[in-house]
Each structure stands twice: as structure tokens, then as C-alpha cells.
Symmetry: C2
Subunit: 481 residues, 2 copies
């Protein structure tokens, strides 16, 4: 089919409200992401139904038009941004935002891909249920994107990644065929589990149009503590001990370095710190939560922290005594990223290692990066319970920004090599997108990469799905653009 003919029929399929060619309507929200060049698209479509998605996909397939699926476009690696060739169709799921079903007895919710994460949380809460996926972009990211990138966030320790929260998927394949796997089943052993091919595939295998998600009892109480820990190793002991003593009801366990407290103190007068930043080198924000009736989590938290002090694991701790105090402690964690920006452009890594190798990761990376860039300020923080450290570096105070940026490649390689030597992952929760394509080839085995590429080719033989992401078409020369 001719491209023009296909575009004409795509417009007819989605109707007047479902398409736009005006790129100024789309820029910057649709075309821009940190760390990758801005994109250009031939057409922007936003179907209203799975059937419309199917029609658009079939037409694109017949006319060989690349398709870039897009949710809230909040990804960190340019996974939802088209290349600059202006040849592709951006397929946004934003108009498919219905909750199709919610069952309190079943503890499940069935949603369309364009539902905003926060709206799903809200729908669950109204039914006294809890949807635990929670991350910074929750006010604008869409569940389809969360699934496509297997998003993580702050509740993974207790509830798992997005992958672990999905029971079933509806997917439109590259040729427009609808794969209906929207089953609400906890147990289903009938052949290969196809949903896991699409979760985390970053839109390179098809378009997720709807999903059945797990819900949980809504937590009725939480207890939040801020602990000064004796050393980095002790954070692991504290977590292991707290999981045991709490009945595995730790929902958050966030590592915070002294430099982050200092930076918060410097730039945010409105945030009150529980200790002076010099109290310790490392801190942990820990939260226990439960739906259990009449549960005294404050006392439980005291018991846990008491044992940790007796065991020489923590040197000091405060437990929030009110909702206001809880929010105050969380404000520190939430301000970490923002205040770092005040200290200049930072070089960032989203890495994971086995939990018990976190101290090695931090010690080695600080040492080796400081050796090549004296004065650099390591700023590692994050989700200890997931082995996931956001390993940022602020520039040496006196180094000009331009000079600092010259270190990026070298520092990335140092960090990724250390992570690799510790059997870790160079992309814990952000995925590959456009910006980590080369790292995927470097840090995953040839056997793994070959099998992934074969699967990609099987499902999308002409590389029309989200081209340039994960595994770019080997026949395509990006230099020619």
C-alpha cells in the first residue's frame, strides 16, 4: 500500500479527534526527552478503542510505516521519542483511559493502557484497595508505558515491579492482530506465558492496549522512621532484620547519603531535618505499613529500632509521631533529586546489584571515579531493598560545566564495568530506550542478545515497532538521517 493512501485511511479509522499532523501541537511534550535528540513524526494518532489501534497497526504494517507507541512520555531513556526522519506515526494511548472493571472480591482492576497511574491508584483506593505502583511521574505517566518499561518505583521491595503486578494483557501485534490475554487468573499453565514478552519490551513487539492488574488491601496505618546508620554495610543488616521482625511489612527502605542531607539543608529552608547532616555518613528512611486492623505499628517500629541500636546497626533514629512528621521525613527523600540540580549538571546512573553487594558498588565506584575526576561529589541514593542505586555525581565545585561533561563517557564506563563485575544491571528500572542501546550489546552476553534479537525479528520482522529502541534494525543506517 502507498504511504499516502495508508495515512488517509488511518485518519479515517481514528476520526477527526484522533489525529494531528501539526507538530507544534506535539512539541515539546511528544518529541523531547532528556539525553536524546528531539524527534519528528509524520502523523500523531490517538485511537479510542482497541479495534482502532488494530486498524492503525494493520495499515502501518501494509504501508511499511514505523510506529512509535507513546504513553505519558515520562521515560528517562527516550523510549517514546521518534527519530528525526519524520517518517513514523506516533500512536498515543491517551484517549484509551477507561477502567474496564474493578473487582474487590478478586482484588483485580482491568484498565486501558492510557489510564494515568494516579487515576488507577485513586480508583483502587475508592474501593478500599491498593494499587502499589508509585513513582515520581505518577501524575502523568500512563499504565501502558509503565508496563512497556516494567516500571519500578518506591514500593517494589514489598510488591514487586510492574511486571509482578500484571495478571493479563491485551496486545495489538505489529500486523494488527489482537492478542487477547486479559485473563484475571492467578494460576494458568497453558503454554508459554506470552505477556512477559511484551512487558518491559518498550513497545518494540506490539502495543499494550489493556491490562488486568493485581490489587491489595489498602494500608490502614504506616509508621515512618529516619535512621542514622553506623556504616553502609549496616543498612543491609537493618533491612534484613526489619523484614524479619515486621512480618515482612516493610514497604519502603531508602538509602540517603550525608551529602544529600547537606544539599537539602543548603537549598531548602522549608524542610526540617531530623538530625544535623553530620550525625552520620549514611541514613535510611524506612516505612512499615499494613492493612491490619488496630495494628500498633509505632510500637513495632520502636521494637525494631531498639534491637537495631542494641545490635550496633544504627546510632540514632526518629519515628514520626504524626502525619505531618511523616510527610516531613518523606519531603527529604522527595527533595533529594531536585536540590542536586542546584549543584550543577549531574551525571546519573540507574543501576542495580545483588543487595549484599551494594557496599562494594558504592565504595568501588566512589574510589575509581574520584581517581579520574578529583573533587567530584558522589551522590548515591535509592532503593536498597531492590539493590537499586541511583548513582549520581555532582561536579567538583570549581570545575566548569563543559569540562565536567567531558567525563560522562568515562564515568559511565567505570560505573557500568563495576556493576557488571558485581553481576548487576546497568539499567535497573529505567530501561534501554535510545540512550542505552550500546550498553545492552556490551553488558549482556552474546547468547542473550542473539536470542532477544531473534524474538524481535520473529514478532516484528520489518522492525516497524518503535524503531531505534532496544534493537535497532541492522539494515538501517542512522548516520544517513
Amino acid at each position: 500500500m502507498q504511504i499516502d493512501n495508508a495515512i488517509h485511511r488511518i485518519k479515517a479509522a481514528v476520526g477527526a479527534k484522533g489525529w494531528s499532523e501539526n507538530s507544534t501541537e506535539l512539541i515539546p511534550s511528544m518529541m523531547y526527552s532528556v539525553g536524546c535528540p528531539p524527534g519528528e513524526a509524520k502523523l500523531f494518532v490517538s485511537p479510542l478503542t482497541t479495534e482502532e489501534v488494530s486498524q492503525v497497526m494493520a495499515l502501518c504494517n501494509q504501508a511499511n510505516i514505523p510506529v512509535v507507541p507513546q504513553g505519558g512520555n515520562t521515560g528517562m531513556c527516550g523510549g517514546a521519542i521518534p527519530d528525526p526522519s519524520k517518517t513514523s506515526v506516533i500512536l498515543s494511548l491517551r484517549r484509551m483511559n477507561n477502567v474496564r472493571d474493578l473487582s474487590t472480591l478478586d482484588y483485580t482492576i482491568t484498565v486501558e493502557a492510557g489510564c494515568i497511574l494516579q487515576d488507577i491508584q485513586g480508583a483502587a483506593e475508592q474501593a478500599n484497595r491498593f494499587f502499589p505502583l508509585s513513582l515520581g511521574a505518577e501524575g502523568s505517566c500512563q499504565i501502558g508505558g509503565n508496563l512497556a518499561t516494567n516500571a519500578g518505583g518506591i514500593n517494589v521491595l514489598r510488591y514487586g515491579n510492574t511486571r509482578d503486578l500484571a495478571l493479563g494483557l491485551e496486545v495489538v501485534l505489529p500486523d494488527g492482530t489482537v492478542l487477547n490475554g486479559l485473563r484475571r487468573l492467578k494460576k494458568d499453565n497453558t503454554g508459554y506465558d506470552l505477556k512477559h514478552l511484551f512487558i518491559g519490551a518498550e513497545g518494540t513487539m506490539g502495543i499494550i492496549t489493556a491490562a488486568v492488574l493485581k490489587l491489595f488491601p489498602y494500608p490502614q496505618s504506616r509508621s515512618t522512621a529516619f535512621c542514622a546508620i553506623v556504616d553502609l554495610e549496616s543498612s543491609l543488616s537493618l533491612l534484613a532484620m526489619a523484614r524479619e521482625l515486621s512480618g515482612d511489612q516493610i514497604s519502603s527502605f531508602e538509602l540517603i547519603p550525608r551529602i544529600a542531607l547537606e544539599t537539602v539543608a543548603k537549598h531548602r529552608d522549608d524542610i526540617q531535618l531530623p538530625f544535623s547532616p553530620g550525625e552520620a555518613e549514611w541514613y535510611v528512611l524506612m516505612e512499615i505499613s499494613t492493612s491490619r486492623k488496630n495494628d500498633d505499628l509505632g510500637s513495632l517500629n520502636e521494637l525494631i529500632l531498639g534491637e537495631a541500636i542494641d545490635a550496633g546497626i544504627i546510632s540514632n533514629a526518629v519515628i514520626a509521631q504524626s502525619e505531618k512528621q511523616k510527610n516531613g521525613l518523606w519531603a527529604i527523600r522527595e527533595a533529594l533529586v531536585e536540590v542536586q540540580k542546584e549543584e550543577g549538571y549531574s551525571i546519573k546512573h540507574d543501576v542495580s546489584v545483588p543487595i549484599n553487594r551494594i557496599p562494594e558498588l558504592i565504595h568501588l565506584a566512589c574510589e575509581r571515579v574520584l581517581a579520574i575526576c578529583p573533587g567530584i561529589r558522589p551522590y548515591p541514593f535509592g532503593h536498597v531493598g531492590d539493590g537499586n542505586i541511583h548513582f549520581n555525581f555532582s561536579p567538583p565545585p570549581t570545575l566548569p560545566a563543559k569540562k565536567f561533561l567531558e567525563f560522562i563517557d568515562q564515568i559511565n564506563q567505570i560505573v557500568y564495568d563495576i556493576v557488571d563485575s558485581l553481576d548487576g544491571s546497568f539499567s535497573a528500572e529505567h530501561g534501554i530506550g535510545q540512550t542505552k542501546v550500546a550498553a545492552l550489546e556490551t553488558y549482556r552476553s552474546a547468547t542473550e542478545v542473539a536470542l532477544m534479537k531473534n524474538i524481535k525479528q520473529l514478532v516484528d520482522p520489518r522492525y516497524l515497532m518503535n524503531p531505534g529502541k532496544l534493537f535497532p534494525d541492522p539494515a538501517f543506517n542512522s548516520e544517513a538521517l
Copy 2:
């Protein structure tokens, strides 16, 4: 390569202790499973290392020899049994039974595929950790088989299926290549998640040789109750309420019908029932467990059951007051299957539906099966929290066994059709093996089946891996045997 030459080299690769040709050594444990014809193998090999598995697989691949992977051979669908052609090699993992690593801080254990499930549970317990996978065959089944079949069991409600317990896998592909994905990571978004291709694939894609598994805090206390419920629908309300009030610490929730209590009463003098079987039509065995220190689960259970009585959900209940009483209540659940055998051959189904459709499933199936076979005794029991009912039928007391067996196909179809109409699964936790191959084609969509077959052909183009299971080679005529 010639077959004889390959067999010679396989024997050399695994050494004298690693092979046998004597089928009397293998029968019946290796050649027989309920519901499928006995098998015959050319050679039985049991490698000691991943490297040996790799050599055997490469040689079989070169000489076109089919490979049947085998764990403890406790499957219910003939998935580990060769066909009778005496052409295949049985590859047992039983000598690969080392625990390679256990990290208490990390809450992970790394095991070889031949480890007996009970031994893994034991190794975890020694480290004050809990490996929750638990099922009837745990004393002899191997973790490789549990992974290959995505085994379920009695703790799925709280901890998930085997799939959910796996962090990483080591797999030998059909051509002998080793895919090393033994990562101990909670978060890793670097391309497609390949492990899910092999979990639940029943040995048709490669051989799982080792796995990293999640551990949990060891439960320090449990409280067990036996409840007479007002009606079937109330079992769902009880579960939903108990999940909320307990802080989601319900670890087992088993539905038991009146007929099962009656049958236990009839055949097992040694088991004491908490009620006379006529107390109610339906019962639930419910257990709360926790690792929380000084936790009074008995009071929590009283609170939950008190609210359930007030809400008119249960009519009567007992809470075990001692370890002996707990074991007594569990003895009822554990005896259910055995005592049914005393009532004649039973027709069985391992099905699942969305939890809130369990009552419909049971009502419809009883009604329709009774209509074609008057006097048949429905005997449905199982894991309500997973939507998984073991839907058995005992024969009418006066019907000769031979006559009863004539109903099998008809009853299977009635049950599977009802399950399908309720968006359920005809195989919840037992898998497909040999015995449910036709059902897979019938009850999964053409799109799903086609994609599964394409993946099978991609990874194992000559159908050498576990032939006849899941997707038999379309070029192979089994009638010719």
C-alpha cells in the same frame, strides 16, 4: 553425526556414573505417569555439571536425537515421559543437586535444577529463611521440574507461583549453548525478560540447570482455623475480609466440601473432625502466618472470625489452640485426596477461574455433569485464593467402574467449556504435558497458539526438546508408532 557415534560420545561426556541403557533400572519411576502410555528411551543420562549438560545437548542436536528432560517425574500430565519409540535420551537433572549459594542478607538461594524441593526448604530454614513453594510431591520433586511446570501448591495465595519466586535462570539451549541469566537482581530492565520463556515451558525450549530463588523471613507463628461457611459465595467474602483485617498475611485458604468431610469421616478413624460433616455444605481451612516478633495471631484470628460471624459469612469456626490441633486440621485437608480413592476411580480437573466466578463454576459444573450422569458425586476442593479448584467427581455408588470411565471425555468437555465461558484456564497448576495437548489448541485463541508455536520453532526448530509435549512436531505422525 551418526546416532551411534553421538551416543558413544554422550556416554564419554557424562562418565560411567552418568548413564544407563538398562530400562529395568528406569521403570517404572522414569517411564510411567498417570494418564499417558508408558515410555521407552534409548539412553538415560544424568550429567553432573552444566558443562556436561551442554555437551550432551550439543551431541543430541548434531545427531538429531530427541531429549526428554526429567526432574523428580512427579508431574500429573506425562510431561517428563518419553514416547514409546525408544529413540530419545532422557536427561535427568538428579545428580545436579547442589545449593550453590545462600545469602541471608539478600534473601536469595541459588540452586541446581536437581535439588529436591524439600531440601531447598530445609536449607532456607537452617538460615532462618523461608522458601514458600510447597506441594504434595515436595519430598521427591525437583526444583528444575517445578520451574519447568511453574508449579503452584498451597502457598500461592501469599507468595505466588514458582515463576514469581525465580529471579534468575541458567538454561542450556537445544544446541548446547549455555544461557547464563543467574542474576540475583530484583530490578533489571535490560531487554526482554528471557527467563519467562523457559519457566512453564515444560522442557520444550531448553534445560533449566540452575536458578536463583527468592527467600522470605521464616514464619515464627501461625494460627489455623476451620470454618463452616454459610454458602459458597461467603467463602469469597471471608477471604477478601481476612486479607484486609490480617494485613494480607493469609497464607492458606482451602475450600472443602461437605462430601470430603463425610469421606474422611468414613475412611479415617484416626482423624478427628472439628464438626459433624452435616454442620454445613462448605468449609474453609484458613491459616495466618507471620515472622513478626511477639505477634498474637490467635487473637487476630478471633477478631477476623468474630467479624465474619457478625457479618453472617460463617456459621461456626474453631481455632487450633496447639501445634497438635493445627496438624489435626491440616490432616483433614491432606487426607481429602487419599480418601477419595476409596470411593472408586475419580475423574479429575485442575482448573482456575477469576476468584469471584468460583461459585458459578461449581454450580454450573455440578448441575450439568449430574444431568448426564445421575448420581455422580462432585468433589470440588482447593485453593480459593488462587481461583484454583481441583474439580473431581466420584462415581455414582452403584455404577460399574467401566461404565463410569465412558463418561470421561464428555465430563471433561463440560467442565472445560464452563471454565472457558468464565474466562478461566483448563490447566491451572498441572500444565499441559502429553495429556492436555488437544485442549491447548481448543481453549486458547488461534493467535496465542500461533505465537507460541512460532517461538517454539524459533528456539527448537527441529522439535528435539521434549517431543510430543505442549506442541508436538507437526511433521511427526504419532500414529506410526
